[in-house]
């Protein structure tokens, strides 16, 4: 140990010239030995060492952070939190590509006359995942765009012309030409997409809006075109 003195000028914990070791008090705030002798050896009252019990209560600064400390703590943690949140938000947005390889969500499918009555067209099955159907539904002859995504687990059923039904190869779900499920594990009918006649007289399919039969949405005039 070096012989340097403390800046506070208090007596050191162990002074080499002191002949008798001194007992020490514990500063409750820091759990450190302060080196302040509590009781001199040889006096009658050796105990207790706790200064509180001696009747005289020493001054203790309240253990509170100062206003300045609170300010800098708030500023520091606030900045840190803001940076962390911003970084997280940027990281999440990074996961969403602006230009995915998906086909267009809104696309033209030509004039309505191209789709003959009581037919199911697979022309846009591969490119846009829809069947264009011209079928009788609830006594009306209508044109509608049916989703090719099976409502069971998302495979793509096949249109079987001979059986006049959609049949899913994955687990055997079957749907009528109007999209209503009738066999296999599929829990609900296929979904329709928004369909309307554009300004140029051609039919437009909008896949951003879907219509579900079980919610009664197939009565919505946006879900079909009367032909």
């Amino acid at each position: 140990m070096s012989e340097e003195t403390k800046p506070s000028g208090k007596p050191r914990a162990k002074e080499p010239e002191a002949t008798e070791p001194k007992p020490h008090v514990t500063d409750s705030r820091f759990g450190l030995r302060t080196g302040v002798p509590a009781v001199k050896k040889g006096t009658k009252e050796q105990l207790p060492i706790d200064p509180m019990a001696e009747g005289e209560k020493p001054f203790e600064a309240p253990d509170l952070a100062s206003r300045r400390e609170v300010f800098w703590m708030a500023a520091g943690w606030g900045l840190f939190g803001f940076a962390t949140l911003t970084e997280t938000a940027m990281l999440v947005s990074y996961l969403f590509p602006r230009a995915p390889f998906d086909p267009a969500q809104v696309f033209k499918i030509g004039p309505p006359e191209e789709y003959l009555p009581n037919s199911v067209s697979e022309a846009f099955k591969k490119s846009n995942q829809v069947w264009i159907c011209n079928q009788e539904y609830n006594g009306k002859q209508i044109l509608y765009a049916l989703s090719t995504v099976c409502t069971h687990l998302g495979c793509t059923p096949n249109w079987l012309e001979a059986d006049q039904k959609f049949k899913c190869p994955c687990h055997g779900s079957g749907f009528y030409a109007n999209g209503v499920n009738f066999e296999g594990p599929a829990p609900r009918p296929l979904e329709r997409f928004r369909i309307f006649v554009g300004d140029d007289g051609g039919v437009v399919v909008d896949k951003t809006k879907k219509f579900q039969q079980e919610k009664g949405e197939w009565d919505d005039p946006d879900s079909y075109i009367a032909v």
């Binding site: 999440v92 996961l95 969403f96 590509p97 998906d102 998302g154 994955c170």
Partner: protein
């Protein structure tokens, strides 16, 4: 304990053997800080002074590592992970994770590239690893090795089990055949039903702004996972990165914790 074996008899003084000379060099001494592991002290040092072994307990009960007790399923799982890492890295030399070439690269790995067994080793090793990790869990459960103070290591193990299954799931897409694409289509459709974050999940329809849904097929958690609305080019690349880098790195870190906690929690558990 058995009597401590004596150190090998040295040769006559002044004529050290070649091995003794090598062991006396600075290079050798800088690497190995202890003598032969033929004393209790050196055996302990061999474990303690090795970065890989020091994760393990310094000593284990003989009954604790009995094959009839542990089935060695944790060890076999770790061995299979190493097999998967080595064969996987070798496969990466040939496999390109783009739709144009992924399927053909797998065919090539099997048919024309020397040691076509490599891809099969990776595949069968993966199947075996899923099996052994379940058996390891079953063993730990049946021997009560999850009980205090080992509860936390059980939790780490459950996360490692999930990571193993996710490694299997992400690797399943990479052959890029019909089976792979539809399996991942079906599997990732589960993400649609994520509460609030999947566009078909509970609560998602409540998140609207001016009548427009905020969580749609083009902005939900499934979209973030696949990088698109369906399993396509982006999904292949994402699953490749998850499979080869992201999940293995997390798994390695958790494995280190898992092995280290065995030591910290009082060593390998023994028969009651």
């Amino acid at each position: 304990m058995a009597t401590v074996p004596q150190t090998p008899p040295t040769k006559e003084p002044g004529k050290p053997g070649l091995l003794a000379k090598v062991r006396d060099t600075q290079v050798w001494k800088s690497i190995f800080r202890h003598g032969y592991p033929d004393t209790q002290r050196n055996r302990a040092l061999a474990v303690l002074s090795n970065v890989f072994l020091h994760l393990h307990p310094v000593r284990v009960r003989k009954s604790g590592i009995a094959l009839s007790f542990t089935w060695c399923m944790g060890g076999v799982t770790f061995f299979l992970f190493l097999v998967e890492a080595v064969t996987g890295i070798l496969l990466m030399f040939y496999y390109r994770p783009v739709a144009y070439s992924a399927y053909n690269d797998i065919q090539e790995l099997r048919e024309t590239i020397p040691l076509g067994l490599m891809r099969e080793l990776h595949r069968w090793g993966a199947h075996a690893m899923v099996l052994t990790v379940w058996l390891h869990m079953f063993r730990v459960f049946m021997t009560g090795s999850y009980k205090p103070p080992r509860e936390f290591n059980w939790v780490v193990g459950v996360v490692l089990l999930l990571l193993t299954l996710l490694l299997s799931f992400t690797g399943y897409l990479l052959p890029w055949d019909q089976l792979a694409i539809w399996a991942i289509t079906v599997g990732s459709n589960m993400a649609r039903a994520t509460p609030l974050m999947g566009h078909e999940g509970p609560g998602a329809s409540l998140l609207t702004l001016d009548g427009e849904h905020l969580v749609t097929a083009g902005s939900d958690v499934r979209f973030a996972l696949l990088g698109g609305r369906f399993v396509g080019e982006n999904a292949l690349l994402r699953f490749y990165v998850l499979h080869c880098v992201f999940i293995p790195v997390i798994a390695v870190m958790l494995m280190a914790v898992h092995f280290w906690r065995v030591r910290k929690d009082g060593g390998i558990s023994g028969p009651l």
